[in-house]
Amino acid sequence: MSYDRAITVFSPDGHLFQVEYAQEAVKKGSTAVGVRGKNIVVLGVEKKSVAKLQDDRTVRKICALDENVFMAFAGLTADARIVINRARVECQSHRLTVEDPVTVEYITRFISNIKQRYTQSNGRRPFGISSLIVGFDFDGTPRLYQTDPSGTYHAWKANAIGRSAKTVREFLEKNYKDEDVESDTETIKLVIRALLEVVQSGSKNMELAVMKRDEPLKILDPEEIEKYVSDIEKEKEETEKQKKKT
């Protein structure tokens, strides 16, 4: 097991242990969920409990990269800050150079390239974050991408990262329906339901960010989230009543 000491060394069976350990660091971050609807993209995150004297505005898991792209991350906070800063600079540089906003895929590829470079440099360690990048391209197509510490990225219809990501992903696989995500409300509700699977003490510990086509990013107020949660609970009660009847 001495192959895990230096990032640049493969183990005999082809593992890059530092990259795999970086993926373990991601699992230490709280859960983030992303769903791509037809006309809306939604990111939901589990808010970590902050210390009493800490200003919770400084603990942000959802960050805008540009007017049409935003992302959520899970893992090492400081690593995320560096990646986000570089991505934001790149978004503006792209606007100045080609006079167009970035596509979601472009900025995802940029972030993944940075991450990959750090898996192939001596003396450096990989970034310990995975991210969910969502937004709209200038042709109006909604996008959701996920990146991980190895520098790979994939497009998803719905995904989760961080602690309990596996549980949330299984819930999404069971409950994602193409017809449902045509409705904005249903997409938001799907994200909230997915988070409720793993978030303790409900809506107080959730933060949701929503972007509709040609509209700016909107962070939902706690009251709005509470309203969705009570709608979801009502629906649950009704399905249970129906089950009891049959």
Binding site: M1, A6, T8, E20, E24, A25, K28, G29, S30, K48, S49, V50, A51, V59, K61, F73, A74, G75, L76, T77, A78, A80, N122
Partner: protein
């Protein structure tokens, strides 16, 4: 070693110079320093007056003991503290004080160090005085291990003695061809001396893993002096006291219950006192 283009590495020669005159060159001052270091790093075992008295009265000047349970590390000590020491009438009967770079206790301490501080303390129960429990949370340096074992076991009668050691270890030290995360951390592994006859409650430690530290010194001592001994080592990914890691030692309760009265469900208050709660302060991960 991977380097960048243009970096110049100084290469160290591995040739060994045979220098037999080295030791004779030591002058009076070096010898004095060496003596002082030996004194400073000496291991001191102290017993309470009651125990010292009973040792004086015995024929071999040793303490009669049928079962000696040693906990090495904060999780093993926390487990014994919550599940054993909290039920029944256990009193402190002795302690070991030592100094090294990581355990800067004073080399001569009177009485037991305050709770929460790294220490090495012996407990005995009034109703069952043949069982001794040792909670060792201070670091014992490699050069002090032999002294610790010789001195402590020198006070204990060897005939009829059984030893059980519970020890913490980091899962990063565990070598396995499988992914380390597939075994479900934390987990227990065992090692025993050849005379230990009872059943082991978990798999034996696989090769090429080795045990180091105080637990290894104790087990080696028991093997050499033909004392039945078993070591249960818990591999965990948490370095601080943690209730989940403490619970891995629970199967050892089946062996311990034959010896002493146990509290199989310690209250959460007792566990909370033992476990460091520092999660809210940790902003490392978001």
């Amino acid at each position: 070693m991977a380097t960048f283009f243009g970096e110049v590495l100084s290469v160290y020669s591995r040739a060994v110079e045979e220098d037999e005159d080295e030791v004779e060159d030591e002058n009076e001052e070096d010898q004095q320093i060496r003596r002082e270091m030996e004194l400073k790093r000496a291991v001191h075992v102290e017993w309470c007056s009651e125990v010292t008295q009973s040792m004086m009265n015995s024929s071999e000047k040793t303490l009669q003991c049928s079962d000696f349970v040693i906990a090495v590390g904060c999780n093993a000590a926390g487990f014994l503290s919550a599940y054993v020491l909290n039920s029944g009438d256990w009193t402190v009967v002795g302690s070991v004080s030592l100094w090294n770079e990581r355990s800067r206790g004073s080399s001569r301490q009177s009485g037991v160090p305050p709770q929460g501080e790294p220490s090495c303390v012996f407990y005995r129960q009034r109703d069952c005085p043949s069982v001794i429990i040792c909670l060792c949370t201070c670091h014992v340096a490699e050069d002090q291990l032999f002294q610790w074992t010789e001195k402590v076991f020198g006070y204990i009668q060897r005939r009829g003695l059984n030893v059980m050691v519970l020890a913490d270890c980091s899962v990063a030290e565990y070598k396995t061809p499988d992914s380390p995360f597939s075994s479900g951390v934390p987990f227990l592994r065992a090692l025993k001396s050849s005379l230990y006859g009872s059943q082991i409650i978990c798999p034996l430690l696989e090769q090429p893993n080795i045990v180091t530290g105080l637990q290894a010194a104790v087990l080696s001592h028991c093997q050499v002096h033909r004392i039945p001994a078993v070591l249960y080592q818990s591999y965990s990914d948490v370095i601080s006291p943690d209730s989940v890691t403490m619970e891995t030692y629970k199967p050892a309760l089946t062996c311990l219950s034959k010896l002493v009265k146990l509290n199989t469900c310690p209250s959460t208050e007792i566990l909370k006192k033992l476990v460091q709660v520092n999660e809210v302060q940790s902003n490392l991960y978001t």
